[in-house]
Symmetry: none
C-alpha cells in the first residue's frame, strides 16, 4: 500500500484515532463549549471522517463526559495528594490552593471546560465539585464543633462559598495567567477564609 493513499479501513491505530478525537474535543470544547461544537467539527479537527466519531464514542455527550471525567479525576487526584487525610487541618488550605493553581497551569483547557459558564459541564462537574466542597466543609465543620470557628458559620454555605470562590478565581486567572504571579493568587486565596476569629457583629 502506498503511503500516500487516503487511509481507508483500519489504517492508523484505533487507539491513536480515539486519542485524537479526545484531544480535538478538548481543544474545541474549551474554546466554544459543548453546544457550539458539532461532531463534524471534532472529526474534522481530528482529521477523520464524520462517521469515525461514532466508532469511538456512542454520542457527543459521551466524549464530553469522558473529557470531563478525566479532568475531574486528575483534579481530584491532585487535591487528594495535597491534603492527605492525616494532615493537620490548618495545613490543608494552602496546599489545595496550590494544587488547584498548578492544575490550572497544566490544563487550561480543562479549566475552561469544567468551570466556565456555558461550557456544557454544569451537570457533570456538580458532583465532583460538591464532593470537593464537602470535603472542605468537613474540615470546617470540625473547627466549628471545636469552637475554633464561630458557630454562626454554616458548613454547607461555607462549602458552596469556597467552591464558588475557587472556581471563579481559577477560571479568571487561567484566562490569562499573566495577570498575576501564581503565588499572589495562592496567597490571596489562602487568606480569604475564616481565621477562627470571632468578629464583632458589624453594627457593634
Amino acid at each position: 500500500m502506498s503511503s500516500s493513499e487516503k487511509p481507508r479501513g483500519g489504517t492508523r491505530s484505533p487507539t491513536l484515532t480515539r486519542a485524537r478525537l479526545l484531544e480535538s474535543g478538548q481543544a474545541l470544547f474549551a474554546e466554544k463549549g459543548l453546544h457550539k461544537i458539532t461532531t463534524h467539527d471534532i472529526a474534522a479537527h481530528a482529521g477523520v471522517a464524520a462517521g469515525t466519531f461514532y466508532n469511538h464514542f456512542p454520542d457527543k455527550s459521551a466524549l464530553f463526559r469522558e473529557i470531563t471525567n478525566e479532568a475531574l479525576s486528575e483534579l481530584t487526584r491532585r487535591l487528594d495528594e495535597a491534603s492527605p487525610s492525616g494532615a493537620a487541618r490548618r495545613d490543608t488550605v494552602r496546599p489545595q490552593a496550590e494544587a488547584l493553581i498548578s492544575f490550572a497551569e497544566d490544563h487550561r483547557e480543562w479549566i475552561r471546560i469544567l468551570f466556565s459558564r456555558e461550557s456544557g459541564a454544569a451537570a457533570v462537574e456538580a458532583d465532583v465539585l460538591l464532593e470537593l466542597a464537602n470535603r472542605i466543609a468537613e474540615t470546617r465543620r470540625q473547627s466549628i464543633a471545636t469552637g475554633e470557628m464561630p458557630a454562626e458559620i454554616d458548613a454547607d454555605v461555607l462549602a458552596q462559598a469556597l467552591v464558588g470562590m475557587w472556581t471563579r478565581v481559577v477560571t479568571w486567572w487561567a484566562e490569562d495567567p499573566n495577570r498575576l504571579p501564581r503565588d499572589r493568587v495562592i496567597g490571596t486565596l489562602t487568606r480569604i477564609q475564616l481565621q477562627g476569629s470571632h468578629p464583632r457583629p458589624e453594627g457593634a
Copy 2:
C-alpha cells in the same frame, strides 16, 4: 362560523400578552436555560400562537435580554441601596449580603437565569457582576492600603473570589430556601472574609 373558534384579531390586551410572554420566558429560561427553550415553547406556555411571539419581541434573544436586563437593574438597584456611597466600609458587607439574599427570595427565577451555569446569560451578567466585584474590591483595596488588610491580598483576586462565592451560594440557596434560614446564609457570608487579622504563615 361557530363561536368556539380560536380568537382571531386583536382580542386580548397586547400588554397582557407581552407580560405573559415575559413571564413564560422567565419561567422557562429559569428551568432550562436559553438554549433549550424554543420560541414555540414560550408562546405555547403563554397560551398564544407561535407567531405572536414576534409581535412583541424581535427574536428570542431580545426577550432574554429584556429579562436579564430587568433582573440586573433590579439587583443593582438593591445593592446600591444597601451600600450608600457614604457608608463606612465595615458596614458594607452585611447589608449587601442581605440585599442579595432578599433579591433571591423575591426572584428565584432571576437568580437561576442570571447565575446558574448554562443559563445563557454568561455574557450578559458579566459586566454587572464585574462592576459589583470591583466595587467590593475597591473597599478592600483601601483596607489593604491602610494596612488594615494584609498586603498579600490582591484586590482583583479578592473581587473575583467574592463574586464567585456570592453567586454560587445564592444560587445554591435559591434552589431550595428551606435548606437553611436566610439569616444563617447571611451570617456565614458576612463572616467569610478577611477580618484584618494577619494570620501566621501556614507552616508556623
Copy 3:
C-alpha cells in the same frame, strides 16, 4: 373631537384611504417588486393600520392587479391615441414610440412595475403586451402581404421582437432619463425596424 387624536373609526374619507393605499403600493412595488413588499409595508407607507388594507382590497394581488390594470389601460389609451386606426401605416411607428416614451416620462413607477423583471407583473402584462404586439404585427403583416416588406419576415416573430425591444429600451431609459434625451431614444427606436428594403444576403 380634537384633531390631534389618533384617527379611529371612519375618520378620513375612505376614498382617500383607498387612494393612498394605491399610491403606496405603486411606489413600493416599483421600488422592490410584488414579492418583496408586504401588506404591512403598504399599510405603513399609507399611514394606516395593517387591517385597513383588507377593507379596500381582498388581497395583495388584487391591489397589484389594480395598479397594473390602471397602468396598462393608460398605456393602451395613449398608444391607441397615437395610432388612430385610419392612419397610414408608415406614420404609425414614430407616434407610438413617442407615446411610449411620454408614458415613461409621466409614469416611471408604472414602467418599473410593468416591465422590469421580477416585478411580479409577468402574467398580468402578458395579454396587453401581446395585444400591442399583435397590433404592431398586423401593420407589418399587411406590409408583408403587399410585398412592401420581405416575405422572410414572420409577423409573429416581428411582434415579439418589437415588444421585447420597446419594453427593454423604455425600462432601461426610465431608470435614468438623464442618460439620453428622449428624442434620441425615439429616433433610434423609430429606425430600428425593417424599412422595406430587401437586404442583400449576408455573405454578399
Copy 4:
C-alpha cells in the same frame, strides 16, 4: 430491521445525487422560478431527503447560481464561437441568431431560467446580457461612425433594443418551438435591424 428501510449511509453515488439535484433544480426553476420552488421541492423531486440538499449546496441560491452560471457560460461560448473576433461585421448577426436559437433548442429550460420574467435571474443575467449587448452595440457604433448607419441611431439604445428583442423572441419561441421553423425565426431576427438605409423622416 427490515431491508425495506430507507437507505441510510453513503448508499448512492454523491456525484449522481448532486447531478440529480442540479437537474431537479433546473426543471423546477424553469417551471416556476426561483422563489416559488423550495429546497424541499428540489430534494423531493430528486428523490432525496431535505437535508441532503445541503450536503451538496450551501443554500438555494447557490444551486440557482450554479445553474445560471453554467447556462450563461454555455451561451457565451456559443455566441463567441458564432462571431470570431476577426469576422467581418456584417457576417456577425446571422451566426449569432443561429447560435441563440440552437442554444434554445438544446436547452429550453435554461432559456426559461435565464430570460423569462420572474425567474429570479434578473441580477444574474444582467452582466452577461449587457456584455452581449455591448458587443453588438460596438459593431453598430463603428457602422455609425463610418456613416454606414445613420447618426440618429444611438448605440446604447440599439444595444438594449437588440437584447430585448432577442431575449423576448427566443423565450417566446422556446415555449413552443412548433410555432415556427427555426429558420423562420432566424430569418426574421436577422432582418430586423438597421440596414444602413437612411429613412426619410416619418412625416415627410
